[in-house]
């Protein structure tokens, strides 16, 4: 199980994968937005999405867990 942290403080703009989905290394899980910049949270390794911990529109802090991958 790998916790994928948010690299920034900002808000969740778009969620691109669903719980249970198979994901590949480098695939975008969630797109965050902060200070007019779009930041893609990418999957660290091949696996399956156990849980997406955020909703679109959520405010998040740097290092908050965005997703759990196994």
């Amino acid at each position: 199980m790998t916790e994928v942290p948010s690299p920034i403080t900002g808000s969740v703009w778009k969620i691109l994968v669903e719980n249970g989905a198979s994901v590949g290394e480098g695939e975008t899980l969630v797109i965050l937005e902060s200070m007019k910049m779009e930041i893609r949270v990418r999957c660290p390794h091949n696996g399956r999405v156990v849980e997406i911990r955020v909703k679109e529109g959520d405010s998040i802090l740097e290092d908050d867990v965005v997703a759990i991958i196994e």
Partner: protein, 448 residues
């Protein structure tokens, strides 16, 4: 001259406009979102009105709310600053219809030049070279076809865009779909217009721009160039004027092209004509920024002309007293943009500023929007301040900038001061021989 001005902006640029308005005896009216109620511009303005929630579309980007605030306060003019509504022709048109003086070009000119695709056609018609590129792209297939035809690398751009937003550089065909998608999305969310086109990406270009002023009688003044090649994510970090890369010949050509364009479209008020210049000093028109530019202070430092004052005089219907042939400039000016961002990866880093001490001294100017205790919000631009210095020559300006950066203190949030120090200490910057790849080359220099 106008009696009162509402500043439809926030942060350092709101304060900058208030400063000149006060010098001219114009009453100043600030507007603020819910989280900006205690900010410096609100304190410094003669009056201030709340306009809604923190999200830009509920406050600073909301035309109805800004117009209502202008009506309620009885403002005779609106200064849009840069960003937000400054280049939205609908906003300028609304001001025109409501009998409010808009401090900027006419809505017609903003509309023409704000459509980057159309501005490319206009430039071509006036004989000004543009980088090769497509028309508006309707789908991914067209994007792929054009990108391949232009040969990689290419850059996707929002037709309604500006300020680097929605631009995506692409090196390979496999990356086209995602870039087209991202550029389209960004364009839609930032500008409410998702039209995108693709241009040939010029390798190692210089990004050089010309400040212009135009009055309602057709007088145009162009200024010496600003070198803006130090960029990350297509947004500028360091600017200097003049450019160490420009020759007298190139300067003359760029000013001539800017003048031809301004005259050709009937440009009024302050604007900036942006060019890319390749290693052989061949230049191409990029776009016109129909507003006051973030880096306008370096032009003010070498010419001692207050560009905001000129904007207000032109909007009031005065003729330019300044003539290009009389325009004197001397020395060298540099600007560092101090951002709330990580120095390593340039990721934005909003948060609360704990301590904040600006450098002070002769020939040092700091245009800032924050003080200790303020929060730099995730909803707005990461720009904290602009540090501007002047020197008799380039070396003097550079040394003054290094000292000023050393005495700048910001704690509580991540910021790019250490990046700026590294940049000014680098052999690459000192040489003056740098282009838009500055940051990647700086990393190579660092890694030996």
């Amino acid at each position: 001259m106008l009696e009162s001005v509402l500043i439809a902006n926030r942060g350092e640029i709101a304060r900058r406009i208030i400063r000149t308005a006060k010098l001219l005896g114009i009453e100043t009216i600030a507007v603020y979102s819910d989280i900006d109620g205690k900010c410096l511009s609100v304190q410094e303005a003669d009056r201030a009105l709340g306009i809604g929630e923190a999200k830009p579309r509920d406050s600073y980007l909301n035309i109805d709310k800004i117009i209502a605030a202008a009506r309620e306060s009885g403002a005779s003019a609106i200064h849009p600053g840069y960003g937000f509504l400054s280049e939205r022709w609908e906003f300028a048109q609304r001001c025109e219809r409501e009998g409010l003086m808009f401090i900027g070009p006419s809505s017609e000119v903003i509309r023409k030049m704000g459509d980057k695709h159309r501005s490319r056609e206009i430039a071509t018609g006036l004989g000004i070279p543009i980088p090769p590129g497509s028309g508006i792209l309707n789908n991914v297939e067209e994007a792929k076809k054009w990108a391949t035809e232009l040969s990689f690398p290419v850059i996707f751009k929002a037709s309604a865009g500006g300020g680097g937003i929605g631009m995506m550089k692409v090196e390979t065909e496999t990356a086209v779909a995602e870039a087209f998608d991202t550029a389209t999305n960004r364009a839609r969310s930032a500008f409410g217009d998702d039209r995108v086109y693709v241009e040939k990406y010029l390798e190692s270009p210089h990004h050089i721009e010309i400040q212009i002023l135009g009055d309602k009688n057709g007088n145009i003044v162009t200024f010496p160039e600003r070198e803006c090649s130090v960029q990350r994510r297509h947004q500028k970090v360091i600017e200097e004027s003049p450019s160490p890369f420009a020759t007298a010949g190139l300067r003359h050509e760029l000013r001539q092209a800017a003048r031809r364009l301004a005259q050709g479209i009937g440009y009024t008020n302050a604007g900036t004509v942006e060019f890319v210049v390749d290693g052989h000093r061949k230049f191409y028109f990029l776009e016109i920024n129909a507003r006051l530019q973030v880096e306008h202070p370096i032009t003010e430092m070498i010419t001692r002309i207050d560009l905001v004052e000129q904007q207000m005089r032109i909007a009031s219907g005065e003729s330019l007293l300044l003539r290009e042939e009389d325009l004197e400039w001397n020395g060298w000016a540099m600007e560092s943009r101090v951002y709330a961002e990580d120095s390593k990866n340039f990721y934005p880093s909003p948060g609360k500023i704990i301590s904040y001490i600006e450098p002070r001294g002769d020939r040092i100017r700091v245009d800032s929007g924050y003080q200790a205790g303020d929060t730099v919000s995730q909803f707005y631009d990461p720009l904290i301040a602009k540090l501007v210095v002047w020197g008799e020559d380039r070396n003097e300006a550079m040394v003054r900038m290094q000292h000023a950066l050393d005495s700048y203190e910001i704690t509580g949030i991540k910021n790019n001061l250490s990046f700026l120090q590294e940049a000014f200490d680098s052999g690459l910057f000192k040489s003056g021989n740098y282009d838009t790849h500055f940051i990647s080359k700086l990393k190579e220099e660092r890694n030996g």
